[in-house]
Subunit: 224 residues, 4 copies
């Protein structure tokens, strides 16, 4: 009887591990492809042979704004990858709903190059700034939904600190608010909106109090 | 003697695990690339600088049908990934034939962006609707063949419920039937055909009785 | 003393496994991307709106030869992936040289879409047929070098049957010979050359005596 | 008490392993995509049907310089992948900072196709040679930063030989120096600069004293 239980438990673990591994492989694949193609999208300028020496430096300078918009998107995608990575460090199971929330999240991730290219090409239109911000806001909302579902349906490690769960919620929820503000601001100043995009990226990349508390909690646990 | 057997068994398991892991990595790679490039295929519209302010919103509106066709394909590819993921949660071994059935399945998956782009570009032609539906029907037939081969050649877990095997068969077999119907309908109404494409996606995404029974069975087993 | 040895052994295994896993991930990534992009390369035909109804079926028929050349390359890449997969089921270690032989092999794999596109676009030129065949011949030679290096430098499982090693050698070595013959034939008949391309793909996909013996050997070992 | 500690330790290891695995998957994905698309970037020449027989060989010959620049970048990316692979054979943990250093490193890797395409298209401009060399120099500096951070913040295996750490530092630091020299040289001779690019690739691919010492050290340890 005990033996049977053991087999069942072992199987259960194997199955769970198997599932999450493929979920990671698929998610990391979509992230890696999107992030790489984002950079690859910038094309080498075409210049007639006799004009190369005089016009190439100028042509490269003209690409600078496009580089900037793509590098910002690269870093924000990095932020989302790190967030996904940290969340799934605590999510140990998955079901049909979580799989699909993850697929919808990946649809958002894979869609980012379009608004990025749009903003890079037409940087002085309110509509492109708003679409760009809106896409990131939606992406953050889907990730928040995923975390909400995982934490309220017993998918996370039983010993995950409730404080940590709340912190993650509070942290992600800031993103759509920031982006909605940047949409509002875009009606008055596109420059300030774009400045907000850079500020949001920096806010999430620099280690913040949430992470400090989180890592401290982990360190305390491990060193007891 | 017993010792030798043990070594042999251990090796067998290692080899099987090794093989399936790479099969997953390769399959997830093809899925991730196809699904990401599907979305990346939609190009930023090219508008002369002096016309951007007036024509950009219109140009973006014109892209909506293309977005819709690509998002439907994204979700149907998601359905096939989830199906592949669920199947290989039970398939524990593979041989030369299964490897090749999987490669042919991946050829179908990687081919999807072509009919999707075709449908997005020429949405009012019977031929593009039929090619789109036909491609998905073939993909489903190949996956059904894979499941048939795996379950009749001892590749699945010995304790897989025969009922579950039958359910999966019944579930997959509906897809080619749905798509063949949509081809038939396309001779009368392209709008209804496209409506069927959306309905099929929703049918497979929403948790259905099959899944409920399957998860209940698993839960019962694990909680005994 | 025994304890120290144990730790060393455990570490060694972990390190070896770690290394090979990333080698697989990288290789499977290159294969998955190449094989997917190969199919994605075929572009939706551009037709003026008023001519779509009359010209689209014709335009799609014109793409058939291109589809054929890409599907053949897809299957041959599948053959090489299966071969790589089977080889590395026996290769348990790697060193600097093996890493680089693998990278050169992947360079060949990633290069395949160019000769494939060339053949698809200019199918009636002797030079494109010869380049296509030549690229596959080189790819096979590099894989043979990799197998030779792995088996002569103690990288394979100690209990790998020497007969199996010889079989693999004999099997791979046929590929460059087949392709060199098709180059020779291309000076007389391009049609026969292309027929050889299809024949080679079928030869390697259909289960052959080598595989039968190999799987029989494995089965006998596991069932003792 | 001891039991609790054991559980904590096991968890810690699992969590670390989990994190690094996804870091590898993501990194290998970016490498695989970049390296494959680099080769795919070379386009089949477009020739009018009646001129194919006479102009195709010439058109292919004209692509040779572009092939050369892309193959060099392929090999240098290979060098960086092998270096990343070797480093992370010793790095056993990661934190927020290391994750981000790795993401910045991957941004450099994903950016390589742009300077490569630029150099392939305008091979006789000092500015393209300098941008190409500069990009590789930055990539090497970021990898050096990553290694510095990992080794000074307790992220590497405790039993990593300090000599090995120093060797890796010395080895990586040569790369930016080589590339800066090639930038200096580019003001006098573009040919010599490009020769340096090839020489650097060969220097890092051929097994060098560092590797010999490293592998000898490992071998000695394992054979005691």
């Amino acid at each position: 009887m005990a033996n049977e239980n053991q087999i069942v438990t072992k199987e259960k673990e194997a199955s769970a591990a198997h599932g999450n591994e493929r979920l990671f492989a698929f998610s990391d694949g979509v992230f890696a492809i999107t992030i790489t193609l984002l950079v690859l999208e910038i094309k080498v300028p075409e210049i007639a042979e006799e004009l190369v020496a005089t016009e190439l430096p100028q042509a490269l300078l003209h690409l600078v704004p496009e580089f900037v918009s793509h590098i910002i998107s690269f870093f924000v995608l990095g932020v989302f990858w790190v967030a996904h990575h940290n969340m799934f460090g605590h999510i140990k199971k998955h079901d049909h709903v979580l799989l699909w929330l993850n697929i919808i999240f990946l649809l958002c991730v894979a869609s980012i190059p379009f608004p990025t290219g749009l903003l890079g090409k037409y940087p002085n239109e309110q509509i492109t700034v708003a679409i760009y911000a809106g896409m990131w806001a939606i992406t953050a909302v889907v990730l928040e939904l995923l975390w909400w579902y995982a934490t309220t349906h017993g998918m996370v490690d039983q010993d995950t600190d409730p404080d940590f769960i709340t912190f993650v919620h509070r942290h992600i929820r800031k993103a759509p608010i920031f982006y909605l503000i940047s949409i509002g601001v875009s009606f008055f100043s596109l420059t300030i909106s774009k400045f907000i995009f850079i500020a949001v990226a920096i806010f999430y990349i620099l280690p913040n109090p949430l992470e400090r508390k989180h890592y401290k909690t982990l360190a305390r646990r491990f060193n007891q």
